[in-house]
């Protein structure tokens, strides 16, 4: 691996090398994709619902500052405290400050990709605060000291047997358990203790409603409810793009979200928080962390419409076969490959190329983000910034020179067709095409030569 860059092809090759895991990972996610197809097909107006969701989001982004201000005003009126954070560091500092002031040492967290992106757990742990992730998948990867491999199903890369071993090692459960029900019970038993002992609960935010100042957190395990109902302090972290204008817009997104994410009609829990609970404290931290910069880039603005359902990952034939960790970022898959270069284009330059541009991500997206088009545009931007590896750039230059000149193209084509059959097999098989695939045939005549002969030219 080159220093400072994520090499998706190499990471992916390592994932592909385990054929059994590859097949099983691909099939598990395809199963979810098919569930999504069925769940969306029961809504006759699905395509117009997508368009409506996209329109609401685009409208919100067009006056994001206004809606954020309105949200802040309404949320404050409900008794919540609203903080704004420019970046990950400021977010972490605010959260830690709140905890420190209240002498909190034990925190439970419900799944939040934003806090993951900010590296919050690490930051708090470095300050002696224990953070327990309460989402089962998230807890599993936390116990393994690794990042999530998917934004909705964080431990989708693991088999139940591996989880059984992990629980045996970390929680002392009996060895050899692989029944998901039993494993869930084991985790639940331990989590209950964590929840009861927690002094603060941190959650993400799925939708923040400007009109009311409330917000909604969607989970399937009810962990956001438990994690906020027991401790006296609730901190909610949200990206600036999570705001929606009106309460009545919520229905559009709740219908789109769960169906796209897991194929459920709606998440098991859609928990509404409008102000702190009686006797409790509610702090909302609104984080920018590069988002307003994306907002300023016209072609890429639409990524901020994302509702984090993960459908683009489930449908992506590359993600399914390379696993989330191969992307080297918190948000993997097509969405991650579009988001990551905004943060560090050099480091993540291989990600926009980790796609065949098949377009499935764009068509599956519940808010119509043109993901594959953005992947393509990123390639152009990386090219302009000279961040494409030299070998590749040189090959393009050469090809471009040839393809702009008919005579050169014809001449080199003839040479290639003449020489290919004469090359030793070993040489033909020593490159990235020929290692596992036969080369195309090398016919004597090109089409244009046949055409000329036919037309007597």
């Amino acid at each position: 691996m080159n220093e400072g860059t994520t090499e998706h092809p190499e990471n992916a090759a390592a994932f592909v090398a385990n054929d059994a895991r590859l097949k099983w990972h691909d099939q598990s996610l395809w199963f979810v994709r098919e569930k999504r197809d069925r769940a969306s097909s029961v809504i006759p107006e699905w395509e117009s619902l997508r368009a409506l969701g996209a329109d609401i989001k685009a409208h919100t982004l067009s006056r994001l500052a206004d809606y954020l201000e309105e949200f802040e005003k309404k949320a404050t009126a409900l008794g919540a405290h609203v903080h704004f954070a420019r970046d990950a560091e400021e977010h972490n500092r605010i959260v830690h400050g709140l905890l420190r002031e209240r002498n909190v040492t034990r925190v439970v967290k419900s799944k939040s990709m934003l806090t993951e992106q900010c590296g919050l757990n690490h930051h708090l742990e470095a300050h002696g605060i224990e953070v327990i992730d309460t989402d089962l998948g998230e807890r599993i990867v936390q116990l393994r000291h690794e990042p999530p491999s998917h934004i909705v199903m964080p431990a989708i890369h693991l088999k139940k047997e591996e989880i059984g071993d992990l629980f045996h090692d970390t929680m002392g459960s009996a060895s050899g358990i692989s029944d998901p029900k039993v494993l869930t019970e084991v985790a639940r038993g331990q989590l209950r203790g964590n929840l009861l002992a927690a002094q603060a609960g941190i959650t993400g935010v799925n939708f923040a409603i400007a009109e009311t100042g409330g917000f909604v957190v969607c989970t399937n395990e009810g962990n956001a409810d438990l994690g906020t109902a027991i401790p006296p302090l609730h901190i909610a972290s949200m990206g600036i793009e999570k705001v929606i204008p009106r309460a009545k817009d919520l229905g559009v997104f709740l219908r789109l979200l769960a169906r796209s994410a897991t194929g459920q009609p709606v998440t098991a829990y859609s928990s509404h928080f409008h102000g702190p609970r009686p006797g409790g404290e509610l702090h909302i931290v609104i984080v920018d962390h590069g988002r307003s910069e994306i907002l300023g880039r016209e072609h890429y603005r639409r990524t901020l419409q994302c509702i984090r359902c993960g459908a683009c990952m489930n449908t992506c034939p590359v993600y399914r076969r390379s696993g989330g960790h191969s992307y080297g970022v918190t948000v993997p898959g097509p969405l991650g490959a579009v988001l990551a270069p905004h943060i560090d284009p050099k480091k993540h330059r291989s990600l926009p190329f980790a796609s065949t541009l098949c377009g499935s991500c764009s068509d599956v997206c519940p808010v119509q983000i043109d993901l594959h088009q953005q992947l393509l545009l990123w390639r152009g931007d990386l090219g302009r910034a000279e961040l494409i590896p030299l070998r590749k750039r040189a090959a393009s230059q050469l090809a471009g020179w040839v393809l702009a000149r008919t005579w050169a193209y014809e001449f080199l084509g003839r040479i290639a067709r003449w020489i290919l059959p004469k090359l030793p097999k070993a040489l033909l098989r020593a490159n990235d095409w020929g290692r596992q695939r036969e080369l195309p045939p090398a016919p004597k005549e090109s089409f244009r030569e046949m055409y000329r002969r036919r037309r007597g030219q």
């Binding site: 092809p9 969306s40 076969r321 494409i388 490159n431 095409w433 195309p440 089409f447 000329r452």
Partner: protein
């Protein structure tokens, strides 16, 4: 009489000339006056998709110079057609309108412009590979992601042939993993995807895998031949030209 310029992708010209020939014969059979402008080379997609937009620009200029005077431009590739129709906007934005309305993928041209219903015999079990750019950028079919009335222009052209059977696929429009330079840049995933597609066609009992893009078929064929599998690939144009030859 309809006049059309034949736009033959570079790799078809060099490696699959018979696909170009089948396209030519097929169009002539349906009464189109076809001309192949010999100054053409390539649409520039390989360098464009590699991120070298500046290198692709002179190629797009050349394409315009060669093709803009024709009534129609017809191409036996969804991907190259989509490059011109959808992506030239990045390269030649001021001249894209004239190209967009007259550049067609072969099946689309037969189906939408000529409105033909090919008749003939092709007694084989065929696996239809829906190439992604044709499917999702040209909308030659409805695509499994979208909840719209199902349609498939390629299949409907083929389904008129006597004796043809279609292999049932469990993933009817998943990408084959070719993706231009992706096939070499991401060899491991590309091959895994291709093998996945082949396995699906095998399960469906396909003798022949067909599709509108020879590039996808080149990748699948490369895998099939290396693994010595009995399945062959044929471009849709070849099937249609062969089946309708004796009618």
């Amino acid at each position: 009489m309809i006049n059309a310029a034949l736009f033959i992708p570079c790799y078809v010209d060099q490696f699959y000339p018979h696909v170009g020939l089948a396209t030519l014969e097929l169009l002539e059979r349906y009464g189109v006056r076809v001309e192949y402008p010999q100054a053409q080379t390539c649409c520039g997609q390989p360098v464009f998709n590699s991120g070298s937009f500046d290198v692709a620009k002179p190629i797009a200029d050349k394409f315009l110079e060669v093709f803009s005077s024709y009534q129609y431009i017809v191409c036996p590739s969804g991907s190259c057609t989509s490059m011109v129709r959808n992506h030239y906007a990045e390269l030649v934005p001021d001249r894209i309108a004239e190209l967009r309305s007259k550049t067609f993928e072969l099946c689309e041209f037969l189906h939408d412009v000529l409105g033909v219903k090919p008749e003939g015999r092709f007694p084989h079990r065929v696996g239809l590979h829906a190439s992604c750019h044709g499917l999702r950028e040209l909308r030659l079919g409805s695509g499994s992601e979208r909840r719209v009335q199902p349609f498939d222009k390629v299949r409907s052209l083929l389904s008129g042939l006597e004796g043809i059977q279609f292999a049932d696929l469990s993933r009817k429009d998943e990408c084959c993993g070719f993706g231009g330079t992706f096939a070499v840049g991401e060899e491991a995933v590309s091959v895994a995807m291709g093998n996945g597609r082949i396995a699906d066609h095998e399960r469906g009992g396909a003798e022949i895998i067909t599709g509108g893009d020879m590039s996808c078929l080149m990748h699948l064929d490369g895998l099939l031949r290396r693994q010595k599998k009995p399945i062959r690939v044929m471009h849709v144009a070849e099937i249609l030209a062969e089946a309708t030859a004796n009618e």
